[in-house]
Amino acid sequence: MVLLVTSDNEQFQTEKDIVERSVLIKNMLEDVGESDQPIPLPNVSSSVLKKVTQPSTGPTEIDVRGRYLSTASTTVESPSRPPILEQSQDETRKRTTDISEWDQKFITVDQEMLFEIILAANYLDIKSLLCRRWLQDGSQHDQGARPPEEIRKLFNIVNDFTPEEEAQIKKENEWAEDR
């Protein structure tokens, strides 16, 4: 077990093999060696760390690829493990998790928490968390990537293209839909 201390001074006992999925923590553990010294995480708050390391408990959770989802409609490959750190980095491109009805719930989720988690994942260097699921297919599309309009809505992105530019860019990029 490893003791983690968050920015708001809360302490977390976490299994070593789980926290070691974070490259930052892994390197820190190597530096301190076999001591019981707590690992300080000054850039991560307890609420975010919970999202990153704890198994699903609340109304919203995040899956291996950093996707918010509702526990009620979720099956994660191995439920005994914290879903977020389920996967090693070299497996980031594999898809194993089964999610349903995620989309409707997603819109209602706290966007700021989402950004905090992105920042924490970047700080902790957990590649799997920073993953493509942010931009992934949703229930409204049978196939393919989420269209730009929806990505804007989900991530609070302001469209600063002129209508002409937007039309031009859309035309230039149609090929990537691969119909």
Partner: protein, 450 residues
């Protein structure tokens, strides 16, 4: 956090990390949301990563885009577009109806040794572009393309007739070759898998299944496929052997009708067609790897002759069966390709008697696999003996060998190829590279098209 955060407040490095896990269609879609993300999405480093990933998945042949490190972003994008559409000179442009397929790169292998019976030879380029498998009368050989070097040769099948072969090279150091052969003398058939050390040329026979067939067919094996630990091949039209070579397990499926097989991530795709019957049934079924757990037979003794106890296909739970009876009851052959730009999306080409048709298969993480028809059946006028590329190009023999394009359904086009000396051809799935044997110079030639 009191202040509202915007996506554009995130550091470029974070956005790049996210792009590093996205497929091409998602990067492009995100790049259309605002100026900041557009600049980042079309950054050279992002596309370099995307193309390296295509290379890792053997979708981008290393000879097709050899100069990745110096290629500008717009040319990398063109390279990806070409995987979807096929070579530019394989389709008529509006201005140029007399266009001819134009070779951009020609690689010639092996000039020294003349095999005893060149006529019965064939060659296949692996999707990575690293190796050519060459079946000549003295057995199967593997050649390194970049170094023009014989890497490995199987001498153990000298008295056998190699009928089908394929290989999987997930990275530069591993090469797994599957050889399906039958003996000349008796009715024994062999399905073997060898793991080749590409440095030393030595091999380790990791799987060997030997059985006896009851009648002497010319072509016993067809549709050999290998992907990770799973390999499959069709035997005598209506049976399909599936093996997990790492676990030394196999299962034989028996179908009522003619069968073809393909492998994708987590699933085996089986197509059956009732031929020689006007209203014959035709179906494509998905069997998940997990489903097979209850059906595997362990290999007890390597090399011992086993008696197949086939399992009926209808007794195996299948997912997402697609009834294709209306469209393709006479089509026997099937190619399944992963989309270069969308993960979990596959294009399925089905072809046979003078026509081809394509389907789209989606295997989402959240839910059941789904099928839909992409294009109606296209009349080619001639039987199709060659595989179809991702882009819908195939070869037909009119007076001369011709590239047939089924991509634009309303105006499918044909283009004459420059005179080739042989029709023992292999067509690469994404690049469209032609691999053929040059009988006069006793070499294997690979031609990439512009």
């Amino acid at each position: 956090m009191s202040q509202r955060l915007f996506f554009s407040d995130l550091d470029p490095d974070i956005i790049f990390s996210i792009f590093a896990c996205c497929d091409i269609s998602r990067v492009v879609s995100t790049g259309q949301t605002c100026r900041y993300l557009h600049t980042l999405a079309f950054d050279r480093s992002v596309w370099r990563g995307l193309l390296l990933d295509l290379r890792r998945r053997s979708i981008l042949d290393q000879n097709y885009v050899p100069n990745l490190e110096t290629l500008p972003t717009d040319e990398m994008i063109v390279a990806v577009q070409r995987l979807l559409t096929g070579p530019h000179t394989w389709s008529w442009s509006k201005l140029d109806f007399d266009a001819v397929p134009e070779v951009s790169r020609k690689i010639t292998l092996h000039r020294a040794i003349i095999p005893a019976d060149f006529r019965s030879s064939s060659a296949k380029l692996l999707p990575s572009g690293r190796y050519v498998l060459w079946n000549n009368s003295t057995g199967l050989e593997c050649w390194g393309v970049a170094e023009n070097r014989l890497i490995w040769k199987d001498a153990s099948v000298v008295n056998d007739w190699v009928q089908d072969y394929t290989a999987d090279d997930p990275d530069a150091n591993s090469l797994i070759i599957m050889i399906c052969s039958r003996s000349h003398a008796d009715l024994l058939i062999r399905m073997e898998i060898v793991s080749v050390d590409v440095q030393t040329g030595t091999h380790n026979r990791v799987f060997k299944l030997v059985s006896r067939i009851t009648r002497s067919d010319q072509d016993v094996f067809k549709h050999a496929v290998i992907r990770g630990p799973i390999a499959a091949v069709c035997v005598q039209h209506s049976r399909c052997i599936i093996v997990d070579w790492r676990a030394q397990l196999y299962v034989v499926l028996k179908c009522q009708h003619s069968v073809s097989v393909a492998l994708v991530s987590r699933y085996i795709i089986v197509k059956t067609a009732e031929r020689l019957k006007f209203d014959g049934k035709s179906q494509i079924q998905l069997i998940s790897y997990d489903t097979l757990h209850g059906y595997w037979t362990p290999m007890l003794e390597t090399g011992a002759i086993v008696e197949f106890s086939p399992l009926l296909l209808e007794d195996v739970p299948t997912l997402s069966a697609l009834d294709t009876t209306d469209v393709d009851q006479y089509f026997d052959d099937m190619d399944v390709y992963e989309s270069p730009v969308q993960e979990g999306e596959y294009r399925v080409w089905i072809y046979g008697d003078a026509a081809l048709v394509s389907y789209r298969l989606s295997i989402p993480t959240n839910g059941e696999p789904r099928w839909c028809q992409r294009s109606p059946s296209v009349d080619t006028g001639h039987n199709l003996w060659f595989s179809t590329t991702y882009s819908g190009h195939t070869l037909i023999d009119r007076e001369r060998l011709t590239v047939f394009s089924a991509t634009s359904v309303t105006e499918s086009t044909e283009m004459e190829l420059p005179e080739l000396e042989t029709w023992d051809l292999h067509l690469a799935a994404y690049s469209g590279a032609l691999t053929y044997l040059d009988h006069t110079n006793s070499s294997v030639v690979i031609e990439y098209y512009r």
